[in-house]
């Protein structure tokens, strides 16, 4: 009897809903923007005993009330705060919110270039990597302008902004100008822990147009600058991260015409080689795909002729080689950044003894390491119509 009573009491005390949080009592944060706090509204901030008004943190919150039926009405709104600690700012923002802020559904973090010119990426992401509410797969973007306007952006399809911005990068597999495979929070943290150089996708807004393209390059966690879409294409070829690609070349027989190749499948191998004290890498790319488009006088389209197709294969291979060499020149010779430690990781994996010898001088050695590229292209079809 007594043990039964004790058991019931303990069951009441230890079970229950200590952690209960009702859906209607939550404000879902969908996107986070980090800017410099150059100018700020004194009402939206707080008195700081420590630190300075360094950053402006903006949160895009899902407005469950309106549902976005109005023509220009957004189904999100943005709150901001200024300070130094993101956690402190978030908690102070509860003074502007009727419900608790819920970070489990954050889709993107957008960081302005001005912030990255002053602060390392690792420092900025520390709060997001520690908190157990955060998703590992949220996307991180860099913008040359301010982050807050991107959070206020109303997508044409009236999707919540954070989800829209996040979905753009999910199409990276088909867009050779966007590198999205290893640019999420979990990957960035992994590269930071490995002391690797890393990349983050670039997002820009002009008027009512928002576009993703190019990359921000980081040496360790320090912002180095941007690279253009052509460099991104070369990077994706090197990493074998493209699932599909569009390659455009001038027609070998009529230079004012253009022929477009659509990649379907590829086999890419980057391998390190060590001969005595010399280290070099070989990149072998084999690509298979179709002719996707012929731009010009269609009467001159010879794609049914196998000799012409063979000529095209060589021309496409040359173009891909040129793109890779262009990327390699920008990264290796100009920026001197082995992004995502691609070459270092290969050397460590396949030549561990050599890596042990050179790992401390890798940053000095890397810019002079030769890359030998071999590309073969196979056109398997000319499309469904000539």
């Amino acid at each position: 009897m007594i043990s039964g009573v004790i058991l019931i009491c303990l069951a009441i005390l230890t079970a229950g809903c200590w952690d209960r949080r009702e859906l209607q009592e939550r404000n879902f944060v969908l996107a986070v923007g980090i800017d410099m706090a150059d100018v700020y509204n004194p009402i939206e901030t707080f008195t700081q005993p420590h630190g300075s008004k360094r950053y402006r943190l903006s949160l895009q919150i899902l407005n469950l009330g309106t549902g976005g039926d109005g023509k220009d009405k957004s189904n999100t709104y943005v709150l901001s705060n200024t300070g130094e600690s993101f956690f402190e700012m978030v908690r102070d923002m509860l003074g502007q919110s009727s419900k608790s802020l819920w970070f489990e559904h954050v889709q993107v973090i957008i960081i302005s270039e001005a912030v990255l010119r002053q602060t390392g990426l690792g420092e900025l992401l520390d709060f997001f990597k520690r908190d157990s509410e955060m998703r590992s797969r949220m996307h991180v973007y860099v913008t040359s302008g301010e982050a807050r306007p991107l959070l206020e952006y109303i997508p044409p399809n009236k999707e919540p902004g954070g989800i829209y911005l996040s979905n753009i990068i999910d199409l990276h597999a088909k867009n050779i100008h966007v590198a999205g495979k290893r640019t999420d929070l979990a990957s960035i943290i992994r590269y930071l822990d490995n002391d690797s150089n890393l990349v983050v996708s670039r997002i820009e807004m002009a008027g009512k147009v928002v576009k993703l393209g190019g990359l921000a390059i980081f040496k360790k966690d320090r912002f180095m600058g941007y690279v253009d879409e052509d460099t991104v294409a070369g990077i994706k070829y090197m990493f074998a991260s493209e699932k599909s690609a569009i390659v455009t070349i001038p027609c070998p027989d009529h230079v004012d015409h253009q022929v477009i190749f659509e990649l379907f499948r590829h086999d890419t191998r980057l391998r390190p080689h060590v001969e005595g004290d010399t280290i070099y890498f070989t990149l072998d790319i084999n690509m298979y795909g179709n002719i996707g488009e012929f731009q010009g006088d269609t009467a001159l389209d010879n794609t049914m002729d196998p000799r012409y197709v063979h000529k095209l294969e060589n021309a496409f291979a040359d173009e891909i080689r040129r793109t890779v060499l262009y990327s390699d020149r920008i990264l290796q010779k100009e920026m001197k950044v082995d992004i995502l430690n691609l070459f270092a990781a290969k050397l460590k994996a396949y030549e561990p003894n050599t890596w042990e010898k050179v790992k401390d001088q890798w940053d000095e050695i890397y810019p002079d390491i030769p890359l030998v590229i071999s590309v073969n292209v196979w056109i398997q079809n000319i499309g469904s119509h000539k």
């Binding site: 200590w18 998703r135 590992s136 979990a186 992994r190 490995n194 460590k348």
Partner: protein, 373 residues
């Protein structure tokens, strides 16, 4: 009326399942970071070496148990080591279970609080788990055995299935170089895998139930199979952690298993945040380990103090286990020190006490034969 749950015999296969149920538990979540920090890229190889090492220790225990097929270590230890020595050995044996219990309770409390119920104090989580485990440990062996068998097929299957989804993020190159440069460190590292395999010591308590009907050869073979399964399971954990996170990343997170599973996105489904599902599958596994270990502690006390029932002892141990677990909660240094103590206690027992007991038993037998002769 006869107690239908009292068990006087179990098959070698059932013993294999119980050993797996006792060994594979909380440590899959708690120990990978420490192992990867110590052994880096070669942690997977140490898991295999550890499997061989601890199977050897179990083999010695089976051999020792064969010398006394009707008794447990608690009964024959005083005959081998004398009254005081025997008591030391029995206390050592029970301390091993106690240290494992408090480490697991404390670790589980921390994990569940951090990832699932952040407003609930870990003390309350531990208390709730302790109550459930106590209820199970108060049953007779027949019930506990059945619980272990059910968990073996259900909870372990679910845990493995959820964990395998993390293969979607696996990058084989993170595993390279596969062969370590410092082989000696890896071999020594085999001993560091003890927290993964710990719990196999329970055979010294359960062998009389098996030896009544089974042969040594069959038992050794089945235990080999059990260790093979455990090694495969632990390998799967370590290889996927390194393959997904890299060594450096795994070193920086307290619970790499949860970080690995957290980053899984199942294409075409709305299911996300898989760490919660993994934790839900892991809790029954932990429950299996904890309740059987509490039962072992109760049994050791019962036999040592010649009681007829283990239940009062389980109830006496509850506050001690609770206090021990709470002490480890707030100070990481204390937690690490106790973990180290557990490691050395376990290694000392398996590779000091057990071989010594075996040698003494042989010596006693030879002496008896010589006397008769």
């Amino acid at each position: 009326m006869a107690n239908l749950e009292a068990k006087t015999y179990m098959s070698p296969l059932q013993l294999g399942i119980v050993v797996i149920g006792t060994c594979v538990g909380a440590q899959v979540m708690l120990s990978p970071r420490a192992l990867i920090t110590a052994l880096e890229q070669a942690a997977w190889l140490s898991i295999i070496i550890g499997g061989v090492i601890f199977y050897s220790a179990t083999y010695l225990m089976l051999t020792l148990g064969r010398q006394y097929p009707e008794e447990t270590l608690v009964e024959y230890a005083p005959r081998l080591f004398g009254r005081l020595g025997g008591t030391v050995v029995v206390v050592w044996f029970n301390l091993l279970f106690f240290l494992q219990l408090i480490i697991i309770f404390s670790g589980v409390g921390k994990i569940i609080t951090f990832y699932m119920f952040d407003r609930t104090p870990p003390e309350v989580v531990i208390m709730a788990l302790l109550i459930v485990c106590t209820y199970c440990a108060l049953q007779d062996w027949g019930t506990i055995l059945r619980v272990q068998q059910i968990l073996f097929f259900m909870a372990y299957g679910m845990l493995t299935m959820i964990w395998m989804t993390s293969i979607l993020n696996f990058q084989p190159e993170n595993m390279l170089p596969l062969w370590p440069i410092k082989i000696k460190t890896v071999i020594n590292g085999g001993f560091l895998t003890w927290p993964f395999y710990s719990g196999y010591e329970c055979v010294l308590l359960l062998l009389p139930l098996v030896y009544r009907k089974a042969s040594f050869a069959k038992l050794a073979k089945i235990m080999g199979g059990a260790f093979g399964c455990m090694t495969l399971f632990f390998l799967m954990i370590i290889i996927i952690i390194i393959g997904v996170l890299t060594v450096e990343n795994a070193k920086s997170v307290p619970y790499p298993v949860l970080i690995v599973i957290r980053s899984v996105e199942l294409p075409g489904t709305f299911i996300e945040r898989l760490e919660n599902y993994l934790l839900l599958a892991w809790i029954p596994v932990v429950f299996g380990t904890l309740s059987t270990t509490m039962f072992y502690m109760g049994q050791v006390c019962m036999r040592q103090y010649r009681y007829a029932d283990h239940r009062p002892w389980v109830l006496v141990l509850v506050p001690i286990i609770y206090m021990g677990s709470i002490l480890l909660l707030d100070d990481q240094q204390v937690y690490d020190t106790v973990s180290k103590c557990a490691l050395w206690t376990g290694l000392g027992f398996s590779f000091g006490v057990v071989p010594l007991s075996l040698m003494l038993s042989w010596w006693h037998k030879r002496k008896a034969v010589a006397r008769c002769g």
